[in-house]
């Protein structure tokens, strides 16, 4: 009884703890220009006045985050399968290598990448600095560990007899891989891809160094560089808007497709 009660208390506490700082963001987005908290007056004007650069930045962030999530999910799943199923020398080193980007402060990665773009230009005449490709590449590097770890975790308790049965019934190995192995891994891959997106969506240092003009400036960079000179509720409005839109999208997906497909099919 005590056990259940404690559990419930923790669950409620965690949700309150996670969501509380967002209250400030949402409330001030409806507030007055000076961002007093609690606000002296309420209005919707900031939602109508979200500056164009934030919207452009949001688009760039979505493109970069989406591409990062996709690439990291694909290559990361491959690596996870190699780590869990492979039997080759250097497997442990590979596992560690796939975790390494998390152990280096992202500012160091950002400066290193920027310097490396110069070297890359010197030896191969390829410019990735200030391009979307460079940005996506940098984010993919820091996102891969999440996918690899999530897929490895999701691969636990995998029952190999499923695959054997499929093979015995005459399915080709690729068919088996696609229709038996992959569906079981989907929840892990999806959470890995979600992580990858979030990591990209929140990063400042790499985006700051690899980005350049408007077309390669992400929303966090735009926010980071702009609030030092003017802090208005419009920043809060655009941040809150991201939450509303994703929440609406989430509910819509749940009602139409059923999110169980993404989060739940892994049940044994």
């Amino acid at each position: 009884m005590m056990w259940t009660l404690l559990n419930r208390a923790i669950i409620v506490f965690v949700f309150v703890f996670l969501l509380l700082p967002l209250v400030f963001v949402v409330v001030t987005s409806f507030g007055d220009a000076a961002m007093t908290f609690p606000p002296r007056s309420f209005s919707l004007e900031w939602y109508g006045a979200i500056p164009q650069p934030f919207i452009t930045g949001l688009k760039v962030s979505l493109i970069v985050g989406g591409s990062t999530a996709f690439i990291a999910a694909v290559v990361g799943t491959g690596a996870a399968l190699a780590i869990t199923r492979g039997r080759f020398r250097g497997l442990k080193i590979l596992a560690m290598f796939c975790l390494l980007p998390l152990m280096v402060p992202s500012l160091v990665i950002a400066v290193a990448l920027f310097q490396f773009t110069g070297i890359l230009w010197d030896i191969a005449r390829i410019e990735i600095g200030g391009t979307l490709i460079g940005l996506i590449l940098g984010h993919t590097a820091i996102a891969i560990p999440y996918v690899v770890r999530a897929v490895i975790a999701g691969h636990a308790h995998f029952d190999p007899t499923l695959e054997e049965a499929a093979l015995n019934l005459g399915a080709s190995k690729w068919r088996t891989l696609l229709s038996i192995t992959l569906p079981v891994l989907i929840p892990g891959i999806v959470s890995g891809a979600v992580f990858a997106f979030l990591v990209s969506f929140d990063d400042v240092p790499i985006a700051l160094f690899m980005g350049g003009d408007e077309a390669t400036t992400t929303m966090p960079v735009k926010i980071f560089t702009s609030i030092e000179y003017s802090m208005k509720p419009d920043v809060m409005a655009v941040s809150a808007l991201v939450i509303y839109v994703s929440l609406a999208l989430m509910i819509l997906l749940e009602k139409t497709l059923g999110l169980e497909r993404f989060f739940g099919t892994g049940r044994a």
Binding site: A33, A34, M35, T36, F37, V111, F114, Q115, G118, L120, W121, D122, I123, A124, I126, E127, I128, G129, G130, T131, I133, L208, F209, G212, D213, E214, T217, V221, K222, F224, T225, S226, I227, E228, Y229, S230, M231
Partner: protein, 349 residues
């Protein structure tokens, strides 16, 4: 490894679009971002593009990060053509040979700048003046019976314990705090030992790097006083917050924001033309009206004299500039790594 790199490189180059080398000249300008970049574009960039047909592309970031990019690309193609820096990182960039000297025949506005704004070695001038002083919540000070700050040392008042903010050493303003404290104690830029002992005894609520964060803490009532700059303080005063911005009797500090042409640019002449536009009275007035930092073009003095409400927010006249103490940038740069180390060990705790 090399083969792998080449293969990957080949793959990348396939997907990279090549930009057509049209006649159109585009200047890449590394600026501070946000409202500052917006007003530079509004009052300078768009005028310039209309007059010359040259396109301006803005790259946002902190001066430190612009400098880091310049260092990383030393000996290679410049990552941008023009860069907005602060005086101290300008000196470092110049020392490393990353900045070009300006041609006064192209940058004709150089002749009209205050002497304090000129760069002695011929690099980019100050495009605006700002100043460092003490900002405090006058309402709370009155309620608590804390006397108005007259000296840098007044921040050590016992009633202010855990109620004031210092800039972190990552902020240029921290060097002003160090020098200001040193001067209040009889030292100077090259004699700061007493200042560090004094700073080590201070009990600030925290050390800020972000002005937006400090602003929020002033608003929340967590912070009652801070060593801050004129522009951001006036931003809050104009919103009706009971803040006051004062210079201590030892003298407020005068600070310069600079603009330079980057070595290795393909368009040095056009870049200098752009700088000339930034130094133009019209652009400078627009800028000062948007964010209250002071223009450096003295042709504006009579105009500003006619608008005292605006002029009170920044050093706007030769006399006002004379009253400010301008720290020796060379001494700051020479001592900076030592100061950071002392700060880490003595002050930050």
């Amino acid at each position: 490894m090399k083969r792998l790199l080449l293969a990957a490189a080949g793959l990348l180059s396939l997907t990279l679009a090549t930009t057509a080398g049209a006649q159109q000249v585009t200047l890449r300008v590394a600026c501070y971002g946000g409202l500052f970049t917006e007003s530079q574009q509004k009052f300078g960039g768009s005028l310039f593009s209309t007059r010359t047909g040259i396109k301006i592309e803005w790259i946002d970031g902190n001066p430190e990060d612009h400098l880091a990019k310049l260092i990383a690309s030393r000996g290679r193609a410049a990552p941008f053509d023009i860069v907005y820096l602060e005086e101290s990182n300008q000196a470092r960039a110049a020392e490393a040979g990353m900045l070009m000297k300006l041609d006064p025949k192209v940058v004709t506005n150089l002749a009209h700048l205050y002497p304090q704004a000129q760069n002695r070695e011929g690099y980019g001038p100050a495009m605006l003046f700002w100043s460092v002083g003490i900002s405090y919540n006058a309402k709370v000070f009155a309620e608590q019976g804390i006397p108005e700050p007259k000296s840098w040392l007044d921040l050590w008042h016992p009633k202010l314990e855990r109620r004031f903010a210092f800039p972190d050493i990552a902020q240029g303003t921290a060097t002003d705090l160090i020098i200001g404290t040193a001067r209040a104690l009889g030292g100077n830029e090259r004699n700061t030992d007493a200042a560090f002992d004094k700073l080590g005894q201070a009990k600030p609520l925290y050390f800020y790097t972000s002005s937006s964060d400090l602003r929020a803490k002033f608003r929340a009532g967590d912070v009652w006083a801070a060593v801050w700059n004129n522009g951001r303080s006036w931003g809050m005063i104009d919103e009706g917050f009971p803040l006051k911005f004062v210079y201590p009797t030892e003298g407020g500090h005068g600070k310069l924001s600079t603009i330079d042409v980057v070595t290795g640019t393909k368009h040095p002449k056009e870049a200098m033309m752009f700088i000339n536009q930034v130094l133009d009275p019209l652009t400078q007035l627009g800028q000062a009206n948007q964010i209250p930092y002071g223009p450096t073009n003295k042709l504006l003095a009579p105009v500003l004299a006619a608008y005292p409400d605006l002029a009170q927010k920044f050093p706007a006249s030769p006399e006002a500039l004379e009253k400010l103490y301008v720290p020796d940038v060379k001494a700051v740069n020479d001592n900076y790594s030592k100061w950071v180390d002392q700060w880490n060990r003595k002050v930050k705790k």
